[in-house]
Symmetry: C2
Subunit: 460 residues, 2 copies
């Protein structure tokens, strides 16, 4: 549903590695997994998102003639290799956690099994898609937990990092529990409910606030939200009372007012009193302006009479944690498990599954991370989503994903739902078969090194 | 050069305001300016970027038939209004600071002068384009200042916020002084020099590091960069020495090695020693991994023998400051200056110009912010870039922009080039005519309110 992105939106090394594989005839089956190395500081959980766009990308994967021409002319690749890219398609399989699933550090949320060149080429864009939506959904889930049952609208398009970030953050935040967005294209693409108010400029181009309010209300007689903080918030609320009554006589309804600056709780209380005393208890109060989960929790705790919130920049950019420490790493090639041993960046090898257990109260009690050959108690979280390059028919629609996310938050252990870090983090156990596999891989790498060292010494 | 973005990638309120303007017949000339309210915490300056994409957007501005159909069917807009959008084009003018120009809080970097509906509709996307590239260029300029003359390559596509963020951050960082990027599409679109190394997976699919190094070098005999931290960095460097000599005998050159984990300065020193002692002083050392301007400054200060850096996530997401406190605000409508008075968000009214002065040493000494009717000493920074909806012919190409940015950094007062906040911030003076205009606007708003209040009381 999003626009197709050029396959050249990738790192140069993907293409140079592919040519080296081509030169060496290396095209056995490779297995890569995407996971987050550790939870962002202060966070208790993450929420998987972005799978739908990854599958779109894999299904549509191909080089255009213009891209192939550019590769031919750029001086880095030989013609036989570029020719081999002409018919390149993604023919592999994908297993993944459904979008909206809660997950933790080291747990793979997506596995790609495909011929090496395909599985390697897709790395950059898969990370680019999965990390962003997962980051935003994880942040938005916190905002939802803080907001209790208040209306939540994504207002962040303008300060999102470019077009796709704006569009996909509308999707990711809706998935995680927002009620809608102001981003029109997200409404057109996915049917996400749209919300909007008015800008200060609308007030300013009129000679007075009351004229602006009246004009807007007449254009939207069934429901409109009026912005009342351009000059003096309470004065605007007082001026609104006679106008709202006059318009009501003509069947025109003012639905809400919006506050956008100053002490939102104090303004909301005064505006609520003015509207109530003016006989307008039906006009609700909507607030925006530099909000995040912490600010929302304060406003909710203070009992501020605010019915809904527009949350933008700090949610869409995940401002406190604007990236995840995530990776898409080789786990197996040509039937052998593989492992990276770099300092601080070592990975668990092989194809993995996550099994999740629940208590009698339905809350999550712990996960087991193990190899796919092993079976552990609990529910396996990674499921097949693509075979032979085609997505399976059972992919959920966005509203079903949103319901799943909602259910996941309800299954979170209570301390993990708090904004503050839980004293005891969620328990993810590494099963013995996975530890054994890691040791086997280490032994094999060590044996390789010793063998090569002795060969080296013999030839030296 | 980037893909056209749907005009529905906007906030709903832009369209609802447009319909209200249509209903009221309000289409006089409006003037909006984009500016940053205050510098991000700890920063000494910002660098303007993104103008080229804004002009692309304005020149191509139109609704497609599918978008118009959706607007008709969505239930919020009447047919006469949607019909009026069919022929909507941007016919206004734009003045702006050239990309690469250093600027400060409250200084407009772009002004749009157009019929109200056009000038309003473009708000969301203009902010979305200008804030992102300006944010990245400003961060990348700091990285460049910290890196002295080391090679700097953008590695951030994978963790950028979506496709456009990845692509445009390659452009913004190049503009601000990076030497190139790993993002292939940025090479194709703008001719930005491309750099790449290899991934750990390339090592891991081979049975040993030396095989992997040799295969890669044979595919890129003129120049290749080998990643040496997959298992043990120094051991890899030692194994590389005999291989490099063997390959050199066949005319194959290894250009560089890459470090990507651990204590980069310590590894670089040891690897440099191993390579030098092995008779390979020509192989340079390239480092990557969680780098930003502070880390780079440390490595440079420590004299680490590193020739170049790959800087990714923290630069592309501007991780310490992932958004700017920026706005696109109405300054004038129908010939009258306008001003927002909201608490903490008041704006300076009217069309403005920035005049910059320089000392005898060529360094910037201070700016004056004033009305366009006024003339102050110094060089005016905003220049015409678009008239009647068409860009002017004299727009600089990207390499010229990059040279301008380089010259700007060289003209920065020395304390502002430091990473730490300067004790004395750069001096931006508000000229008396601008203060007078603000007072006039305030008096007009006040008079309006009093007049309306008395009208209200008469009718109450």
């Amino acid at each position: 549903m999003t626009e197709r992105t050029s396959l050249l939106l990738t790192d140069l090394y993907q293409l140079t590695m592919l040519q080296a594989y081509f030169d060496q005839g290396m095209a056995d089956t490779a297995v890569f997994e995407f996971f987050v190395r550790k939870l962002p500081s202060g966070r208790n959980f993450l929420m998987a998102a972005g799978l739908e766009q990854v599958l779109d990308f894999l299904e549509d994967l191909r080089f255009t003639p213009a891209e192939l021409d550019w590769l031919t002319g750029c001086g880095r690749f030989h013609r036989r290799f570029v020719d081999s890219l002409r018919d390149l398609r993604f023919t592999g399989e994908v297993q993944a956690m459904p979008e909206g699933t809660v997950f933790f550090a080291d747990e793979p949320i997506l596995r790609v099994v495909a011929p090496l060149p395909q599985a390697q080429l897709v790395e950059t864009r898969i990370i680019n898609l999965l990390q962003f939506q997962t980051m935003v959904a994880s942040k938005a889930a916190r905002v939802r937990l803080a907001a209790a049952d208040k209306l939540l609208v994504d207002f962040g398009l303008r300060r999102a990092h470019g077009a796709e970030a704006g569009l996909l953050s509308a999707r990711a935040s809706y998935l995680a529990g927002f009620d809608g967005t102001s981003t029109v294209l997200a409404g057109m693409n996915w049917g996400i409910p749209l919300y909007g108010t008015m800008a200060h400029s609308f007030i300013q181009v009129h000679d007075g606030e009351v004229d602006a309010f009246e004009h807007f209300a007449r254009s939207y007689p069934k429901a409109c939200t009026l912005l009342i903080n351009t000059f003096d918030t309470e004065a605007a609320a007082r001026r609104l009372v006679p106008l709202a009554k006059k318009l009501a006589g003509e069947g025109i309804t003012i639905q809400a007012v919006r506050l956008d600056s100053g002490d939102l709780a104090a303004h909301a209380r005064q505006v609520r009193r003015i509207l109530d005393e003016g006989g307008l208890p039906g006009i609700s109060i909507f607030a925006s302006g530099n909000l995040d989960e912490h600010r929302l929790a304060e406003l909710v705790a203070a009992g501020a009479p605010i019915n809904g919130f527009g949350v933008g920049t700090r949610m869409n950019t995940s401002a406190d944690q604007p990236y995840l420490d995530c990776a898409y790493k080789l786990q197996e090639y040509a039937g052998l498990a593989r492992r990276k041993q770099s300092e601080g960046k070592a990975t668990w090898p092989g194809r993995k599954q996550v099994y999740r257990s629940y208590g009698a109260d339905g809350l999550m009690t712990g996960d087991v991370l193990t190899t796919t050959d092993d079976v552990a108690p609990g529910e396996p979280l990674l499921v097949p989503v693509m075979r032979q390059g085609r997505r399976l028919a059972n992919m959920p629609v966005l509203n079903a994903v949103r319901e799943h996310a909602h259910a996941e938050l309800a299954r979170l252990p209570v301390p993990l739902r708090a904004l503050a870090p839980a004293t005891a983090p969620y328990c993810v156990t590494l099963a013995p078969p996975l530890r054994q596999l890691a040791e086997e891989v280490d032994r094999r790498i060590q044996a390789d090194l010793i063998m090569r060292k002795s060969r080296c010494q013999q030839t030296a």
